[in-house]
Symmetry: C2
Subunit: 508 residues, 2 copies
């Protein structure tokens, strides 16, 4: 693997030094980053930024019809899905406005001096400050919610960081139009329009990660692409944090008791979840442990009979899906359970037929490299287990995922199963499905490698802002230089920790 | 620079595959890591771990005389310094016990279901869980406080992570004895003694960072060594977070008004700070901007006349100091202000004479690569500025530091200076000195590269535990599998966020 990394680093060095095409890319990227860095977004108030985020949300909603039409042309996603995604994206923007309004994300902490301690304690006041310009790599599968104005951009702007987005090539016109509207909305709200910039193309992405003024990276995409960029970020003369969300299998365990209770309901739920919007979700359940001999396969095939034709986001993704599905089907222990090439309701051929491959849990545990790779699109693998020993061995072989789900019977003791799955996933779902990631203070969208590069952080939920903040402590500072959030008397009324005790907002 | 990294990666690969000397090292490291991973520390309660930390503190204090004597033989640090450092180390251990007792570090967050949202919100409950076994690289200059039982170990154990320490070669016997006593103390407190292990030697350190069960690294040491290990951690098949504290200049600015007010007092303070314990602090002020023509140099020389002879931690550190000092003195624009080769009070020759080199701030700004390198030991550089323009240019050239200090006159407007220095340091010190890092909730010990590899986190202060924790969200979980910290009714009485509102501990 080190060989591949070395090549990636060398390529970037080459691009950076290149006076030809790479040189032109570098000039454009440099201009975008310098414009962003020059905006003074880091000195803006929380109230101002909250207003900007709400203006961005309103701008999206105002132009929803136009944007959804553009997105439909470029992504093949359904109108209903895209309209819902615009709502989601606006909700995210407003959510991060709420988070910074509330203020506890700053971790404001004050300690009074105490000369009797070893070493003596001066007056110390700590809070978080913006890290600096952030590079955001947009995703293919969420043209709004994880793209130009998606979670990474919204949380970075909320934190006080200007953003340069690297557009996803799957929806270039939409990306340009959203940036145009966003910059108008920012300007209308009194914000510097250069707080949000856009660059395009692989070489621009490489130049962006290497730019000395870029302070952090948010990325949603493939494991290969994400790893190459993570390696670049880590190999910089001054490394920067790279928050990447890469690939995820999102294992599901159906217990024997659950299958005995409601095999049809669980199978129908799985059919809906793994084929939803062409199975193009990072949270798609891609591996399902089912007990042998419960009729689960039959129930699943029944449910899949009603799934319509699918067309994937781009031709490239369609081709990769076909290759990935063929590879799994061709594995020595594989059994093809379902491949729905034709939509039975319309007779229309699908370029991405829903696919179910089955194997024994033993086979999966014995060859994890072959079986435990994400196949992006409407495919899931059923891993049949005969007993708890087989299930445990296969679970132990799992890499990190964004989510892991357990279908269990009411009152069933699943504590050992939970203990085994907990280290493998950032979110544990009970009697439900991992697709459909709610926007909430308590949400977490992360997990061990390869689900993310930085399992300690999240890209969805309130603490997504923490990725783009760094601490600063003021020692014996005169009142004139302290941020208002750290001033005596708590004039902005935010939650703070004072001499070790948490004090709610609007208390002194 | 990439060439050096490639070599480092290849060496590690080689070591890992080596069946010879490297193979033996790997076996020992593997045994230590597997023993740590098998302890079940991650499932222990906060109350239990708090008791363990307090037992470790008591064990240190109980054996203070023996340990200080051992440390004196190996480090040349003074008895007073070492006795104080044991107190500091015990205080740190108890502080992290208090932090986990209080419980808000878990970020427990509960959101009630709401089906009306897009997407619908299930019951979500989020908290932080231990990341897994942590590798800790001990420092040379704090044989207690940043070594076997130092901040990294204390915060990792507090978080619920077992630790394998890589001993610093500067105090091997002390390291072994502290581990021995610590394991006794752990066992006495009912903890698994393998919660703390020790390995020695460069090859062991490399094997530790590459071990698949190691989940994070804490490091305090040189920029070269830290960078090589950071590169290894990032190049792993599954990368892990590397929290390194490397090199720091800790710039100081003396304003014209401050110099006019109290040049003697400031010079005396600097003399004490940069020569304290042989100048062997990561927070030593290594670069001081002074206004030209204020007599600061004379005042500093007066103060340095009383500094005693110094002997550095190891012969290697002494040799590196001499080479670093010679290099600076030999720079084209350098002027040697002081080199106290003999202690005037005793006539004893010093192997690490206090050294002051001066240059113009212009020279520093024009050749930052030559001037802005840490020289570990009792040396500081005076950068003389004629006006604010010269000062600003030099400040702009600074890399990240752990601390930056401003000496200013009462009532002086220093807001622009603070704004310029704030992005360059993790802690801003006013009319004081950066040495002597207090243990407090509001402390931050971090900063941009090369001060740390991960400027978003701290190694001192309450949030040091955050480095060794990862979030997990429970979606629609049955009560039987929820951690008590997330249960209905808040049975453990910790601070939590409920439906977006922060609720203090011992409220429902």
């Amino acid at each position: 693997m080190s060989g591949r990394h070395v090549v990636a680093v060398d390529e970037s060095t080459h691009l950076a030094d290149d006076a030809g095409a790479g040189g032109q890319v570098d000039v454009e990227v440099d201009a975008a980053v310098r414009a962003a860095a020059g905006t003074g977004v880091g000195q803006s108030s929380r109230a101002d930024r909250a207003a900007w985020l709400r203006a961005l949300a309103a701008g999206l909603e105002l132009h929803r019809d136009e944007l959804v039409a553009l997105a439909r042309e470029e992504t093949h996603l359904s109108e209903a899905r895209l309209r819902g995604e615009v709502v989601r994206t606006a909700t995210q923007l407003r959510f991060f406005a709420d988070v910074i309004d509330e203020g506890s994300y700053l971790e404001a902490t004050l300690d009074a001096p105490d000369a009797s301690l070893v070493p003596p304690r001066p007056d110390l006041r700590r809070m978080l400050r913006p890290i600096g310009p952030v590079a955001v790599f947009a995703a293919s599968n969420f043209p709004f919610a994880f793209s130009v104005l998606g979670n990474d951009t919204a949380s970075a702007l909320a934190a006080g960081c200007p953003v340069v987005v690297k557009a996803h090539p799957g929806h270039p016109r939409l990306s340009r139009r959203v940036v145009e509207l966003a910059r108008e909305a920012l300007q209308g709200a009194g914000a510097p329009s250069d707080a949000l910039g856009l660059v395009e193309g692989v070489e621009s992405g490489v130049a962006l990660v290497g730019h000395p003024l870029v302070s952090a990276v948010g990325f949603t995409g493939s494991t290969g692409g994400g790893r190459a960029l993570f390696d670049l970020a880590s190999a910089r003369p001054a490394p920067i944090p790279f928050y990447g969300e890469l690939g995820s299998l999102n294992p599901v365990v159906v217990t024997e008791a659950a299958a005995a209770t409601d095999v049809d309901g669980i199978a129908a739920g799985l059919a809906g979840s793994f084929t939803r919007d062409g199975g193009q979700y990072c949270t798609k359940p891609g591996l399902v442990f089912v007990p042998e001999g419960t009729g689960f396969e039959d129930a699943l095939c029944d449910a899949l009979g009603t799934v319509g034709a699918q067309r994937l986001l781009t031709d490239g993704i369609g081709a990769a899906f076909a290759a990935g599905a063929d590879r799994l089907v061709g594995l020595p222990d594989a059994e093809l359970v379902w491949r729905g090439a034709v939509d039975p309701s319309t007779g229309e051929a699908s370029d991405a037929p829903a696919t179910v491959v089955a194997a024994s849990a033993r086979a999966v545990a014995d060859d994890p490299h072959a079986w435990l790779q994400e196949c992006f699109g409407p495919l899931t693998v059923l891993a049949r287990y005969r007993d708890r020993t087989e299930l445990d061995a296969a679970v132990a072989a799992l890499d990190g995922s964004l989510a892991a789900s357990i279908h269990h019977a009411p009152g069933e003791d699943i504590s050992e199963l939970v203990a085994a799955l907990a280290p493998k996933a950032g979110r544990l779902v009970f009697n439900g499905w991992p697709t459909g990631v709610a926007i909430a203070w308590a949400q977490h969208h992360g997990g061990g490698w390869p689900a993310t590069t930085a399992s300690v952080h999240t890209s969805v939920g309130a603490t997504a802002v923490r990725r783009f903040l760094v601490p600063v402590a003021y020692q014996d500072a005169p009142a004139s230089v302290l941020p208002a959030e750290l001033a005596d008397g708590n004039p902005l009324g935010i939650p703070r920790r004072v001499d070790g005790t948490l004090v709610s907002g609007h208390q002194s």
